[in-house]
Assembly symmetry: C5
Amino acid sequence: MIVRPPQHWFRRLFDWRGSVLPNILFRLSLNFMMAVAAVISFPWYERLSLRLTTAPFSLLGVAIAIFLGFRNNASYARFVEARQLWGNLLITERSLLRQAKSLALAPAARQSFTALLVAFAWALKHQLRQTAPREYLERHLPARDRAEILASPLAANRILLALGRWLGEQRQQGALSDMLYTGMDRNLDELSHILGGCERIATTPIPFAYSLILHRTVYLFCTLLPFALVEDLRYMTPLVSVFISYTFLSLESLAEELEDPFGTAANDLPLDALCNTIEINLKEMDDQSPLPEKHQPDAHFNLT
Amino acid sequence: MIVRPPQHWFRRLFDWRGSVLPNILFRLSLNFMMAVAAVISFPWYERLSLRLTTAPFSLLGVAIAIFLGFRNNASYARFVEARQLWGNLLITERSLLRQAKSLALAPAARQSFTALLVAFAWALKHQLRQTAPREYLERHLPARDRAEILASPLAANRILLALGRWLGEQRQQGALSDMLYTGMDRNLDELSHILGGCERIATTPIPFAYSLILHRTVYLFCTLLPFALVEDLRYMTPLVSVFISYTFLSLESLAEELEDPFGTAANDLPLDALCNTIEINLKEMDDQSPLPEKHQPDAHFNLT
Amino acid sequence: MIVRPPQHWFRRLFDWRGSVLPNILFRLSLNFMMAVAAVISFPWYERLSLRLTTAPFSLLGVAIAIFLGFRNNASYARFVEARQLWGNLLITERSLLRQAKSLALAPAARQSFTALLVAFAWALKHQLRQTAPREYLERHLPARDRAEILASPLAANRILLALGRWLGEQRQQGALSDMLYTGMDRNLDELSHILGGCERIATTPIPFAYSLILHRTVYLFCTLLPFALVEDLRYMTPLVSVFISYTFLSLESLAEELEDPFGTAANDLPLDALCNTIEINLKEMDDQSPLPEKHQPDAHFNLT
Amino acid sequence: MIVRPPQHWFRRLFDWRGSVLPNILFRLSLNFMMAVAAVISFPWYERLSLRLTTAPFSLLGVAIAIFLGFRNNASYARFVEARQLWGNLLITERSLLRQAKSLALAPAARQSFTALLVAFAWALKHQLRQTAPREYLERHLPARDRAEILASPLAANRILLALGRWLGEQRQQGALSDMLYTGMDRNLDELSHILGGCERIATTPIPFAYSLILHRTVYLFCTLLPFALVEDLRYMTPLVSVFISYTFLSLESLAEELEDPFGTAANDLPLDALCNTIEINLKEMDDQSPLPEKHQPDAHFNLT
Amino acid sequence: MIVRPPQHWFRRLFDWRGSVLPNILFRLSLNFMMAVAAVISFPWYERLSLRLTTAPFSLLGVAIAIFLGFRNNASYARFVEARQLWGNLLITERSLLRQAKSLALAPAARQSFTALLVAFAWALKHQLRQTAPREYLERHLPARDRAEILASPLAANRILLALGRWLGEQRQQGALSDMLYTGMDRNLDELSHILGGCERIATTPIPFAYSLILHRTVYLFCTLLPFALVEDLRYMTPLVSVFISYTFLSLESLAEELEDPFGTAANDLPLDALCNTIEINLKEMDDQSPLPEKHQPDAHFNLT
């Protein structure tokens, strides 16, 4: 994710960080060349009575803008939901640890609990980005749960199971009454919802046909546009044509990027930083020290 | 559901998987022929002072685009809700099994419980696709519940009843206090919500009049369009006309497809794969082995 | 509600079931006559330099389409919420009966409970459609609650009170601990939400001014439209004008119809069939037989 | 709130009840005079080559329509949320009284409870409309809570506190176990949400800048519009210009009205009638008689 | 936040409070100068056949309006959610104190509890506005929690921890049964959600690329617009061009302002006043006196 630096409105016109320009630069250049071709071929093209006028393109442009608005809404809703799920992860894990402290559970037990909670966040991150969590888990998991979790193909869910077992043991040892057990178990159910919600976003994209239809229509629209504009605009065709194409292509490209918010593109969620925040919060609450260092955006204001 | 392969933006222009093109190809051809007819008949047609101009079609096109945007929103919302319900199915069943393990219920009892949970998902799938679940249920249901469930016309709901009875028996045998019973029973209520939510989506379509009105207006619009464009565009009429028609017809067709997300069309939910995921997850949690194989998309990237 | 039969896209163009055409036929005919008048009077009308052009109507048409989109959203949201409330009614009543069975309450008591639950659905239907529930209630209510419920001006709420009393008695007789009582009572609260939610939709329409403003602007727009189109379109004016009017009037009319989803128009909710479904489900769960017959759509695919 | 009478589509064109026409009549007259001025001054105005054409106004009109759609959405969402909160008030108070009856609490205690619940609704109404609740409260509050509640600057919240104390006393007297107490207390939390939600809507308007920007642009747009239309429409300018202005001004005015749904304008919520409904419902449940009379709309179909 | 004074529609046209005009005045002046340049250079500019017409700008303007509508929706949703979280803060803290009073906990304990609740609100405000809470906390925190909370880098979360400890102690001292403890602890979970929700809004802006794309396209659009309008409008170009630019720039600027609702700009949330309201409410409930004074808007109707 790109961190937004405070800046003047003018400088922002030329800001390239977080921009989708690199993704669409090639297509914009193509569009520019089409526009130049349109300007050059205009005399011949008119003689063949092959005319394109702006009227149908205006209708088409507005229709595409409406559908693109719909697509942006759908993609952005996924981004927002993904962020909310990670926000809830921090919230729920803080709640669980607060409960463990309020109920004065044994400090040693509480520390394994904290370790499992932190590991759950990291394991979820690895699962969503399809990277291997082994290295992290080997170092940080409590000894008794380690083997079982590392052996499982579904590590995050196994950690949740271990959290449940920890809670069940507290109950069997009499540290928690059934009532208190149930109060904390409800927060484990919440973790289950977070895990399942993230998996749902990661595995079920917006129906592929939406991408296809919009990708094609936007592309074809931008390609034909210069030929429609050239009659009115002549030498201004390349400028206006590239401008209109930039508007449509960049929003289409951004919608595509946000659709999968767990990726590592510039506008995706900074899962590493979020895990780091969770770890700092929980360890601070558990009075551990020193705390891990806070992740900072790199020189390009990028936070992974 | 079509699984989206990583691919270049250019290749996507010619990607036919998951496309709704087959559904609208006939109507697009009709439109092309109308456009050719419009070009050919133009001289006569003008002499009769039967004129169609783009201005009213522009107004109409934008209005239809707005209503189509509304219809796509409504259809997509049904798709998303259906997916969320199936996501919640996985989440809730994992929570229930986690609770059963945390509370150290007897392994034999836990296995019947797992079998019932898995059967619930498959029975729901069969109910939503209106196929017969008998074969599956005969093989996988615990012996004592089998006859009763197979005899019922509402199999999924009967399985939920059997899950409730299982829970009640645990309470009567003293394995669960009233408090713990209630904590798990709340998750059965959640299963009840999932079942009822899916039934609602399956049995109540978007009011039929919306489909009718949009279907007719889109169709008539596309049919008349070439006659309006021909005055300005002459020989370019077929190209532009088919392009505009493609945009409107494909979105109308996709909205129709997504409206019933439990079907087996290319953009519908992969209920088989979702049931398979649930089965793998629960059996893995219950330490059963070997686990069922994970469903893979077929050669056309299709997942049923 | 109109049940959608599987059908070919072509046949749907001429499908009249569920259509709002009958409601707007008179206004469409008026519009057609205005269009003919516009064509006939065009020469005079031009001489008086009373000109109407498409440009301002295009602006107005798009603005009205946007506001109509807003109105359709609002109406459809009411329809969806109403359907969800009735879905939750089925869900919650199934949950309550499942709980009663799991907790092994006395069969006789369970049967009165089932009867009350079914009666609640029918009484709610009668209340929303403002019909008299007396006949049904006299036949199906448990004897001891009958007099009290029939005497009340708020029958559905009284049945809910009777359900609460039934639950309180189970607790006093020791069949339910306070914990189990509370677990079931929460589902009665849910019934209370359903009752109140339906009452809210039935008694509070979308602010009347929205209907007025859109009704008037759509109507005036359609009336003036032919005079604006005639300059460009001449003899095609009636066709295009009726087409545009159809699009606007039918969506306005449908929005009006959906706004009150508990009515008996073609696109309203099939409350009879929903009550019937609830009755079948609960009686099947309670192992009663024979089950009531399932309501089927009539010859016009209409389900009340 | 205006109650919608059943009526024919034609009569509705001339229905003034609930209309926002009175609010915008002056501005419409101004617009009419501007249009007349535009028609009269057209010859001079053209000679000075001060031209306004419809094209930029078309663009501007559509943009304003889109932003007005957004503003209507935001205002209507506030109206809907306010109505839902008052719906929940009825729902929750009915649930609380049902619980009190199911648990067979002493009738005398139940009557004070009912009185407090009814008073809560009326006090909330007075707070939202910034009127003095003293008179009502003096007559209806239970004697022991009266002084304390009347002395408080936050009456509704004090009544909620009294409800909590009542519940706490039932627990201390042994009439409610901790479990049952908690079950009812959860509904008091719900009342707390209703109180806070209404306060939020009443004290935090939509950001003022939205009103300002739209108010200004709509106004300026309507003022300049006749000068843009006159070239094309000549003597029809006043008619079309007033029509377009009516569409924009009436929706802007209605959005302003709905933004504060607790006022006493024609389209605001009928808080008096809602309080009356709550009072009738609770007293009927508590078997009191005679019940208060039901508020009826006045001769102008207005319900306050 | 600007408090809206009751005022006439005419005066509002010239109301500068809460307006975003100051932010965009420079850009509007630039636009005015471009328009003057366009008018002056028009003869040369035409001779070079460098033509810009309104048609492509109309298409572009509508597309940008649609995307701007989307951006305003997203920003406003953040504003609304932020306000709801602060509304819930008041609601939940009132509920917690009501519970403490109903359960007749010791007055001294209740006072520390009240102090912690009030401090939580102020600490959250300081965290969101990135100011130092030390001064306030030193004066108002209960002595025993002070050192620990002041030492923590995450003050608000530490106060929540102290609230949890307070609750745990009440349970250990026998003042609260496990059931009652859990009932209150659920409201602490709610505070945890409020804290996490505010942090989420404060740390995760709308993806930066949206701002960039819209900022650039709006800016470029406004810059080129006069050159497109000049052919039609001549000397009216500056007026119309500045008007259109005002509409687009002001909405873009407001969307930017609302995106971060915790700031101190004119349209942001009045966090000081909200904390003050919470403090008055809680102290009034706790029968403390004198109550703090209610914050009033300053002479410019501004409430911080």
